[in-house]
């Protein structure tokens, strides 16, 4: 299998190195299979804002992740394109039969970017920090499996064992993006309880080190962050050149999306991600003249949906919502709404055909887990009317939908004003619902206020929202799908599953968690998607494509649908011609 092949390459390489280096500590480098490129050059990447911190323990936002991940490395990495795991700092790993023990062999002879050696102690230290309750690292939650934190043991200098309290199907994926920290630099801070303040933007670059392809060179506040190549990086290409190819990586701050497009057009920044379909259309005709290339990486993991408020109003604060929940809780009502919505129009008008309609939260972009058998609903007003009729609704004065007690069906749709596309979706949904006599009113609201209503006050009737799956694996979605999950947004704090189908989903999700075989897991997850498409706890709407672009001269550019879409493989990117090396 693939893993074996890699291992073989590594062994071969190890041999080569040991021959060359003689008695020196052998560097166990990773040889990549992608196209071998030329050294040199600088790559400019525009970001909405500067990183908030260089500290992987506290970083929570994408802007920080994007920069930090270039300077840090993880044990096991998820290939953004294949969506599968592959070895990184871990040379190899084995899982015990029951799936509760996980033994990782580290590459030997690796050095941090400041030249200090890397070994199992650094791994132990890193996990100690991540797992420390006093540190409150956001990563900690990932490392709690089966309700208990994982246990990390040092087997020898280059071997570490992880023990879970329960079998865990996605165990390998947990290690992705979990930066291994340099103990020699951070232990003092940690012991003094100041780990959270470490590695801020104003920390001198030589006090920051990592195992990533690049290391920090300079920070110009508010303007840009410069990274330079890490001479100790642990990957080589097919020709034996040490990666990365690029001498320098420049993250410039461009706060406005439009300005980012203009920058890219002008060639000031050389890759662009997160393009809206409209901006894509603007850039498209200029590909030849301005020497860049655009890519449609296909539907991403973002899914947009119309969610009804199904929370229990235990304190009796929201009589209006409770009154309307009589409709919302009726699956036929939700199905009718779903049938009335023209997903095709959303994809066409909002995404310019660069997106897909959804039946569930799993987009076709999630290759391993998408269930193609679940059909995306096609707009059918007849079906919608039929469903409403059976649910006891009727029409009055021509085209006003009224419920069984004669009340007109009317509700508000909350939408975050900071996301234009969701606003547009809401407008289309509103117009679609008008066709079946439902008076929906769009209420745009500043993002955090809207979130506050969803999460805390529960004072909303319906909302158009979007979530992004953290990974192409089903497990992270448990936090949304499980009836008692923390991000079970439409019905928070649900004590026990309210309906049989919810109970079924709970059960299925639990089952997939401990099922190690992919085919079996897939079958379980297919069933989950079937149930969701049928019961529609929320009305899934559409998923936009991930649209990116890069200078045509950039080699090894392989856009992905998981975050950092464009520069996740910055270590492999290179300039074909010296002209591109700015």
């Amino acid at each position: 299998m693939r893993f074996r092949a890699l291992a073989r390459i590594v062994c071969f390489f190890l041999w080569c190195v040991s021959m060359l280096a003689g008695a020196q500590a052998q560097e166990e480098l990773l040889r990549t299979t992608s196209e071998a490129g030329n050294r040199g050059g600088n790559l400019v990447i525009a970001q909405r804002s500067e990183p908030r911190t260089f500290n992987p323990v506290t970083a929570v936002d994408q802007n920080s992740f994007g920069v930090n991940a270039r300077m840090q490395a993880d044990l096991i990495h998820i290939n953004r394109v294949t969506q599968k795991t592959e070895p990184a700092l871990a040379k190899s790993w084995t899982a015990s039969k029951d799936g509760t023990q996980f033994t990782v062999k580290l590459r030997q002879g690796l050095k941090f970017s400041d030249g200090a050696p890397f070994d199992a102690d650094d791994v132990l230290f890193s996990f100690k920090v991540y797992l420390d309750e006093a540190v409150h690292s956001p990563q900690r939650d990932l490392l709690i499996i089966g309700g208990k934190p994982m246990v990390v043991q040092k087997v020898d200098e280059y071997t570490v064992r992880f023990i879970f309290s329960a079998p865990y199907s996605a165990a390998e994926r947990v290690f992705d993006s979990l930066a291994m920290l340099p103990r020699h630099l951070l232990e003092k801070d940690y012991q003094e309880g100041k780990i959270n303040q470490a590695w801020a933007l104003n920390t001198p670059p030589d006090k920051i080190a990592g195992l990533g392809a690049f290391r920090l060179k300079q920070v110009i506040p508010g303007e840009r962050v410069l990274l330079e190549r890490n001479p100790n990086y642990w990957k080589i290409d097919a020709k034996g050149q040490r990666l990365p190819y690029l001498d320098q990586l420049t993250f410039v701050v461009v706060p406005s999306q439009d300005a980012q497009v203009i920058r890219f057009q002008a060639g000031d920044s050389q890759i662009i991600s997160g393009l809206s379909a409209e901006n894509y259309a603007v850039l498209e005709p200029e590909q030849q003249t301005r020497h860049f290339k655009l890519y449609d990486a296909g539907p991403g993991l973002e899914y947009n949906f119309l969610m009804f408020n199904l929370n229990d109003d235990t304190e009796g604060r929201l009589p209006e919502v409770v009154r309307k929940q009589k409709w919302f809780r009726d699956v036929r009502f939700r199905q009718a709404v779903s049938a009335a919505i023209d997903r095709g129009a959303i994809v066409r008008l909002v995404y310019r055909n660069r997106g897909v309609g959804l039946a569930t939260h799993v987009s076709p972009g999630n290759r391993a887990w998408y269930d193609a058998a679940v059909a995306v609903p096609v707009r059918s007003l007849d079906k919608a009317r039929e469903l409403l009729k059976t649910a006891g609704f009727s029409w009055k004065d021509g085209n006003t939908l009224v419920d069984s007690s004669g009340q007109p069906v009317e509700f508000t749709i909350l939408v975050s004003s900071s996301n234009t596309q969701r606003g547009q979706i809401a407008t289309l949904v509103q117009e679609d619902l008008k066709a079946i006599g439902i008076a929906a009113h769009v209420v745009p609201m500043e993002g955090r206020s809207a979130n506050d209503r969803v999460l805390n006050s529960h004072d909303y009737e319906a909302i158009v929202m979007g979530l992004v799956s953290g990974d192409a694996d089903p497990t992270p979605d448990m936090n949304v799908l499980m009836s008692n999950a923390q991000t079970h947004l439409w019905h928070l704090n649900e004590k026990s599953p309210a309906t049989p189908w919810e109970a079924e989903i709970d059960q299925l999700m639990q089952k997939q968690l401990v099922t190690l075989d992919y085919q079996k897991r897939k079958k379980i997850y297919d069933r989950v998607q079937e149930v969701l498409a049928q019961q529609l706890p929320v009305v899934y709407l559409a998923s936009p494509d991930i649209l990116v672009g890069a200078q045509e001269d950039l080699g090894n550019f392989r856009p992905a649908i998981i975050e950092q879409y464009t520069f996740w493989n910055a270590d492999e990117l290179f300039w074909h011609t010296p002209a591109g090396r700015h």
Partner: protein, 322 residues
């Protein structure tokens, strides 16, 4: 003079104090906080969020937080930014400098354009130039600042002669000081132009109105009677006499320009306070917002003080009284 200065400084403190309290109250009133975005991240548990909230002090009552902020401000930190985990003042200083780098030239340029043009326009009463002027300033006033900035970027893109945003080029940083200065100046052209276009119309109208008022006075008629040339009358006599309200306006225009530059900076990716403030507002990064507002309030106070000094220099009636 000392007493006067002391009074002004007292007012300034009062102002800063009042503004910060009001911001705290408003922050309290706006739903959601810095951590409510994280809450939507499916991989982070509510417990962690609660811990973080405690760590940031978001769970404490407002007076306690205000008191802590005051203590931190006394140390010159202006509180800790939630997002950056560093003192807000540290983040703000370089940004404030950049903002001033943009708005001070824009301020001067606006006035340099507005004063001669406005004075001339005051003399044009009723003819076609006057109508053109009224129409032109109305169009300028109707143009939203964001649009102006975007159009400026578009011009840069189409002509290729100007940098499309940013403050310095990546390539310039390794060059000598002179080249870096030129690079900086080159980057300033468009944002400054956008700011000037965004603010000049209102100043123009004020200059014209003030000078026109003075032109109707007896002493201007008398000056005309002495046969002084039109230029001398407009610039040598009318302008100094009309300067008093204009100088007060100069102080106020500092604040106005700052609020215009907020949006221009965002669109033109100028690393000033604008992008930081907007980001901080949207992220509910309380102390950063307060810090930024404190800074701009300081600029405002500075502008008014400057206006006072200018008044003192330019108006003999005030000068001789002292």
């Amino acid at each position: 003079m000392i007493r006067y200065l002391a009074r002004r400084i007292g007012h300034a403190f009062l102002l800063l104090f009042g503004v910060s309290i009001l911001l705290f109250l408003m922050f309290q009133a706006a739903p959601g906080d810095f951590l409510s975005e994280i809450r939507l991240n499916e991989q982070i548990s509510p417990q962690t969020v609660a811990h973080l909230r405690a760590q940031y002090g978001l769970d404490q009552p407002m007076p306690v937080r205000y008191w802590k902020w005051l203590k931190s401000t006394a140390k010159g930190e202006l509180g800790y930014s939630f997002a950056y985990n560093t003192p807000a003042a540290e983040l703000l200083w370089p940004r404030a400098r950049n903002t001033l780098l943009l708005s001070v030239p824009a301020l001067l340029l606006s006035w340099l354009i507005a004063v001669p043009l406005g004075v001339l326009a005051a003399g044009w009463k009723g003819n076609w130039a006057d109508r053109l002027f009224s129409g032109g300033t109305s169009v300028l006033l109707a143009l939203p600042d964001v649009l102006i900035a975007l159009l400026a970027l578009l011009i840069a893109l189409k002509t290729g002669r100007f940098p499309v945003g940013g403050m310095t080029s990546v390539s310039a940083q390794d060059q000598d000081n002179w080249a870096r200065l030129r690079d900086l100046a080159w980057h300033m052209v468009l944002p400054v132009a956008a700011l000037v276009i965004g603010s000049v119309a209102i100043i123009l109208r004020h200059v014209r109105a003030s000078v026109r008022e003075v032109l109707e006075s007896t002493y201007m008629r008398a000056a005309e009677g002495h046969g002084l040339s039109q230029r001398k009358i407009l610039f040598g006599y009318a302008l100094p006499a009309a300067a008093n309200p204009l100088i007060s306006l100069f102080g106020l225009s500092v604040a106005f320009l700052l609020s215009v530059s907020l949006l221009v900076e965002v669109v033109m990716s100028w690393p000033g306070m604008g992008p930081l403030l907007l980001e901080a507002i949207l992220a509910r990064d309380l102390f950063l917002v307060i810090g930024a507002v404190m800074f701009s309030t300081l600029f405002l106070i500075g502008g008014n003080l400057l206006a006072d000094v200018l008044l003192y220099v330019f108006d003999p009636r005030i000068r001789r009284q002292a």
